[in-house]
Symmetry: C2
Subunit: 337 residues, 2 copies
């Protein structure tokens, strides 16, 4: 691999001149500039960002930690973040935590060693986990997504899960349903807990009592939701409507209903969290709460840029809450009592 010295030698100039022409950081006479560019081309020289980073202390790398890229919500988020990063000249280091705090902390350490300029994290642990790992002195700007976990010093971009669940559940109630079930997410992350709370409060507001037998843990997983859904209909008084707390669990539930021979919306009405292209290809098309993922991703990156620009100066920690929209399709029917 050619170095700046090789280029300098070939062009008959000093390395400083090469650096200046390559980075356009100081005036270089047209003649020299041309010679340098010629040398660069003929050697196929590509400056080493690792040497550059060492010297100037900036890597143009941003670490991104998500629990699971396979979850379409995160896929979409990664997608918009990648675009934003590329536009700003940053490259993403993609890491999957697999919902495992220990692994996540290991990744955080690695990213610290890589000297990434910033970290975007969907936390799968609680504050105490991170504190125990001695990550308090972690210097890189941090932006949290999806889950609102009070962190040392970071912005957070999330969706108002409580309000979303409230609205989704109320929609079912407005259709006349009284026996409502939910397939809930993991209760130890904020998204799961908030969505369940919204469901319960919607029931409460409508003067309905919450029946614990109609609340099933799906842990945000397709397989768990499949089992949970079958379970729900094995009881003497099955629900007439279900609120499903994410897209993966929707797939599980729909499979279960098909295997049970139950038709939606005739036998059961459904509202789910998250919208995705293929939700409109289900029959019936599923009514959902759509998260504004693109806007959220852009907000995340803006927050990151703001922190990056602050250059180490203390900055207030913002919490940006986005409101999901109800997208009415065909999966809810009016229940005439």
């Amino acid at each position: 691999m050619a170095t700046i010295k090789d280029v300098a030698r070939l062009a008959g100039v000093s390395t400083a001149t090469v650096s200046a022409t390559v980075n356009d950081t100081a005036y270089v006479s047209p003649a020299l500039k041309a010679r340098v560019q010629q040398a660069v081309r003929s050697l196929g020289y590509a400056p080493s960002t690792v040497a550059r980073s060492l010297k100037i202390g900036v890597t143009k790398l941003i670490g991104l930690i998500v629990p699971d890229i396979t979850n379409p919500f995160f896929t979409e988020l990664v997608h918009v973040l990648e675009i934003a990063a590329q536009k700003q000249g940053y490259t993403l280091l993609l890491c999957a935590s697999d919902e495992d705090v220990a692994r996540e902390i290991g990744i955080l350490r690695t990213l610290q060693m890589q000297r990434v300029d910033g970290v975007i994290l969907a936390p799968s642990g609680t504050l105490s986990d991170y504190r125990a790992a001695g990550l308090a002195s972690y210097a890189a700007p941090l932006v949290l997504i999806d889950r609102t976990e009070p962190f040392f010093d970071a912005d957070t971009v999330a969706v108002d899960n409580y309000a979303a669940s409230l609205e989704a559940t109320s929609h079912l109630i407005a259709h006349g349903h009284r026996r409502l079930a939910t397939i809930a997410g993991s209760s130890h992350v904020s998204t799961g807990a908030d969505r369940l709370r919204g469901f319960k409060d919607a029931l409460g507001r409508a003067g309905l009592s919450v029946d614990e037998r109609l609340i099933r843990a799906g842990n945000f997983r397709q397989s768990d939701a499949y089992a949970a859904c079958k379970d729900l209909f094995a009881q003497p008084e099955p629900p007439t409507a279900i609120y499903i707390a994410n897209n993966l669990m929707l797939v599980g539930a729909v499979c279960a209903l098909a295997d049970l021979g139950l038709a939606c919306p005739d036998d059961i009405s459904i509202v789910a969290m998250d919208d995705l292209p293929w939700m409109a290809a289900f029959s019936p098309k599923i009514t959902v709460m759509r998260q504004p993922i693109r806007a959220m991703g852009e907000a995340v990156f803006e927050a990151m840029l703001r922190r990056l620009g602050a250059g180490g100066r203390k900055i207030e920690s913002n919490l940006l809450m986005f409101k999901p929209d109800l997208v009415v399709r065909e999966s809810c029917r009016d229940l005439v009592a």
Copy 2:
């Protein structure tokens, strides 16, 4: 940020000793080792991989370029690659080319500057594109995925698209269908071209003529497939079966059929390329050709490790072809003439 010097000073040893204990690369007496570790802990020292990489010429970074992470096929692939990389101590630099050769070449340049140890690429260009960009001297080990584009010196891992399409189409023919349509991918990438060729040859083998009006370009995109599908049924003699060349286009086609009021499999039989969790949640469940993505991802990483281990020595270029499986579900019906 604490450096190795700070640690050395605090522990009262030389930097060489710190390096030796941190990397376990030479004997250090227990007493010193303990002192060093104590100093590391109290300073929250994290070695800088950028300095390390500069010195030893290895970054433990692997560049991954895919056209679009949002395409579930690539999502899944990224997922298994990320796991493999993490297990081997590598970190992935994720980049999206958006099917744009110019952008892809820019990314390749960036990765070269980052001095990644290797590159995994789903090429969206042809050999001449890369040659024109002067990437011939690109030194990092290269493994190509999905598309078989003759490249300078690289392994390729792909699925046998021709055989897959042959089998999928033959399956429809075996069900008695004679008017077969296809919604094809982009013909300028090998996957698109090979899949179309397989479709046509299956027709030929069965003694059926190919009707160009039943061949529609979907360009691997949902929206294009939606339009293509509607188009197909606007003709006087619509097909009785469709072979759809990827998952995104399947979603588009299914939406179009629903909007047209056509039922599958009663009005139209379908076989699609790619299997995904939610394909079993469609009604009817879709019959597909399943690509062994996990196995392919693992093969990619193995090939990469082999090249990484070769350390610059020339190595033969392998082409690893995987055979997809037909997964029969409910989207094809027997046509009684």
